[in-house]
């Protein structure tokens, strides 16, 4: 029997995420922890399965080990399938040549064989560094109705921020007449979300053209989309109204975590109709002790809390000892905050030890910025880490040679 998939998703997960500094020293950005029990890639993967898309290629390149292990056979997202499912696509060696992925378009080009195996009518291109809940099926429906070659998901952003994005200039019917990648003077506030649906044949055609163009930087935003527009292809914008956050910077990652807090949060991960699936760690329920004081926070399983936690997000197995205080912070799995230590306005990666009486970060109001500690390090007892400081190895205080 001839089997096919109507739509195959390709998730670009190779980014280094260099603006996350110490948090991405050893892992790819999509593997960065988020929201106490998730990783960034849980959101596009959950969106796929919730939208009925069960065939996903994940393109990895930078530090893929942890991401590969996390995705595994895709079972946590119900993406372990005999036909379809999730597949890790790393750069590979071919008979004639082998090469790293050069740009987003080249990464997809190198995996056209994977896509073609499923004979899809449509290909959905996603990126692995955004936090959002989106029904790709609704976008696909719009794409089919308009008969476009390509549909680009777009969100309205404040005009002054638009220059950080690919900007879509559209007519009244939503069709795109111009695409500008990070323009200095944006003409519209409609930002591309980096989510594209292509009619499959058009994608193959333009990727093959782009590949042999020596001037191309092999990027969707810079090369492929403008080339399609120039050729007169029908390209539509698809307006998305929900919560969408690029968590590519320390401050946006912090903000997005905080957006989960409150009775009516800006971003709700507990919606039973749109579950966010993840690889669940094995841990007992969290324990809050006699002296614990926890308010306005999100706490994951396995935490043991005897101290104070306020306006913070604590991931699996975090320990906050008696007399310790955590405020306005994101603490990732397995970190231990010992007696009398304080953590303020910080992001702390996995398995960090903040020893007795140490202090990390400064009050948000002091505008010193977010303190960031990379994984597996120790801050020695009674040592102070200043606000805004970024540290990626054991810390015993400032030394002269720095």
């Amino acid at each position: 029997m001839f089997r096919k998939k109507e739509c195959v998703a390709m998730l670009l997960a190779g980014g280094q995420g260099s603006r996350l500094y110490a948090l991405t020293n050893n892992i790819a950005k999509p593997a960065v922890a988020f929201g106490a029990k998730y990783r960034i890639i849980d959101f596009p993967l959950s969106n796929c399965i919730n939208s009925g898309i069960d065939t996903v290629g994940v393109l990895t390149q930078y530090q893929p080990l942890e991401l590969n292990e996390y995705i595994g056979n895709g079972q946590p997202w119900d993406l372990d399938r005999a036909f379809g499912g999730v597949h890790i696509l790393s750069p590979y060696q071919a008979k004639k040549k082998s090469s790293w992925y050069e740009g987003t378009a080249n990464a997809i080009y190198q995996n056209l064989n994977f896509i073609k195996k499923y004979h899809p009518d449509y290909v959905l291109i996603l990126s692995g560094d955004h936090i959002y809940k989106m029904d790709y099926a609704a976008m696909l429906k719009a794409h089919k109705q308009t008969g476009a070659a390509c549909t680009i998901a777009a969100i309205e952003v404040p005009l002054k921020e638009a220059s950080r994005f690919g900007v879509l200039n559209t007519r009244e019917d939503g069709s795109i007449y111009e695409f500008e990648e990070k323009p200095k003077q944006p003409k519209s506030n409609l930002a591309s979300m980096g989510i594209y649906i292509f009619s499959a044949e058009k994608l193959y055609e333009y990727l093959e053209q782009d590949e042999i163009n020596p001037e191309s930087s092999k990027d969707f935003g810079k090369d492929v989309l403008p080339a399609m527009l120039n050729a007169g292809e029908k390209m539509l914008s698809y307006l998305f109204n929900g919560y969408w956050k690029d968590v590519g910077t320390i401050s946006s990652l912090w903000e997005s975590n905080m957006d989960l807090l409150g009775v009516k949060p800006a971003f709700d991960v507990s919606d039973p109709d749109w579950k966010i699936h993840s690889r669940n760690p094995l841990a007992p329920p969290e324990y809050l002790g006699e002296h614990a004081r926890v308010s306005n926070s999100l706490i994951a399983l396995g935490c043991e809390i005897e101290g104070n936690v306020e306006h913070s997000v604590l991931a699996t197995g975090v320990i906050v000892e008696e007399g310790a205080t955590v405020k306005d912070s994101v603490i990732m799995a397995g970190t231990v905050i010992k007696k009398g230590a304080t953590v303020t306005y910080s992001i702390i990666d996995e398995n960090v030890v903040i020893d007795d009486g140490a202090s990390v970060g400064e009050d948000k109001a002091k505008n010193a910025g977010i303190a960031v500690l990379g994984r597996d390090l120790t801050v020695a007892a009674n040592i102070k880490v200043a606000g805004g400081q970024i540290i990626d190895k054991d810390y015993k205080g400032e030394t002269n040679n720095g």
């Binding site: 946590p76 329920p285 308010s295 706490i299």
Partner: protein
């Protein structure tokens, strides 16, 4: 080593110990400890000892058990060879479903015959403990035992519809077995914890022999009468042990999880596997006051919680005060309600301003799905 053993878990035996909680479910699927079911402890002990094939003997009320177990993947037991095998009762026009453990075992001789493992580990679901099954098998091999029974030293009264105490000699060989002895306050005794190891072929032989003789009780007809000819050894288990044989004991042992040492013994060194629900992390609001409590994922706490165990997806409304209570999955407490020594089963709803109280010996029980 232990992958030379096949596991057999009895899911229904002892159902009558806690009628409140086993009305709609097997003993095996009674919720415990915030996010577990009783069977998770028996199953995890087997998995952590390297056992990869487990037959679950069941009889009735097993819908919730099937739902919990699924394909077995959450215990890493979705396997091509072996894995979790549900064994519902088999009956034809001549035979009614089994009424005792021997008949139940006779019903699964087909399953036991098809396996190739040397040993069988048989466990019930009425205990909470971290028994190292691999070590029990090692002991069984060392002693060239036919039949190894795990026991725990206990003191004081004990009540259960059916239980055994063992009298081993210095070497561990069992010289006497008592069934349902009357135990008083200061009595010390070796309680059999319903975990045993046998050679698979010996077990099959034992079952066939017993059935042809019309015997019906493992304890009364086989064990007590053949201690001279069958080599029965007792393995002493020293760790934390909780026998769940009444609602009062259920409450008492649940509350023991608030003790750090108990938690670290049960959950520390090795994992307890359970079904995954993909709940969001628990949310504590500005009004939350939570002390000495275990909170599972998916809870939203807008009130006060002290000395409690909250299962997944529990909601505590604003101004409500919940103390010394166990609230099972998706229980909803409205606002300004007060609860003390209450056990709510799944999906219970306690409306605004209700006051409910029991006591430690007799916790107030709210049945599954009840709205008060």
């Amino acid at each position: 080593m232990a992958n030379q053993a096949v596991g057999v878990i009895f899911s229904n035996i002892h159902d009558d110990n806690i009628p409140e909680l086993s009305h709609h479910r097997t003993m095996a699927s009674i919720p415990f400890g915030g996010r577990y079911r009783l069977i998770d402890f028996a199953l995890s002990n087997m998995v952590n000892s390297g056992i990869t094939t487990v037959g679950i003997v069941t009889k009735n009320n097993y819908v919730s058990l099937i739902d919990h177990i699924g394909s077995g993947k959450d215990w890493d037991l979705a396997r091509k060879d072996g894995g979790i095998v549900l064994l519902p009762p088999y009956s034809d026009e001549n035979d009614a479903p089994y009424t005792n453990r021997l008949e139940a075992l006779k019903g699964i001789t087909g399953f036991l015959n098809r396996r190739k493992e040397e040993y069988v580990v048989i466990s019930d679901c009425d205990t909470i403990s971290r028994i190292d099954i691999a070590d029990v098998i090692r002991f069984h091999e060392e002693k060239h035992s036919d039949f190894t029974m795990v026991y725990h030293e206990e003191e004081g009264e004990y009540h259960s519809s059916y239980f055994m105490t063992l009298e081993p000699d210095k070497d561990g060989r069992v010289k006497g077995v008592k069934i349902n002895p009357v135990l008083k306050n200061k009595d010390k005794y070796n309680l059999y914890v319903n975990v045993m190891v046998l050679n698979r072929e010996f077990l099959i032989h034992l079952i066939q022999d017993a059935v042809t003789r019309g015997l019906s009780s493992f304890g009364r007809d086989i064990l007590t009468k053949n201690l001279d000819t069958i080599k029965v050894y007792a393995y002493k288990f020293d760790g934390y042990f909780a026998g769940i044989n009444s609602l009062e004991k259920y409450y008492q042992h649940s509350m023991e999880l608030l003790d750090k040492d108990v938690r670290s013994e049960l959950f520390g060194a090795r994992d307890i596997y359970t079904k995954v629900r993909d709940s969001a992390p628990s949310k504590y609001t500005d009004n939350a006051v939570v002390k000495n409590s275990l909170i599972s994922d998916g809870c939203v706490i807008d009130g006060t919680v002290e000395n409690c165990i909250l299962f997944r997806g529990v909601n505590i409304g604003k101004g409500s005060i919940v103390k010394n209570s166990i609230l099972m999955q998706d229980t909803v407490i409205g606002s300004n309600a007060e609860l003390d020594c209450v056990i709510t089963d799944k999906n219970a709803v306690i409306r605004d301003r209700r006051h409910l109280a029991g006591c430690e010996e007799l916790p107030y029980f709210v049945a599954k799905g009840r709205m008060l």
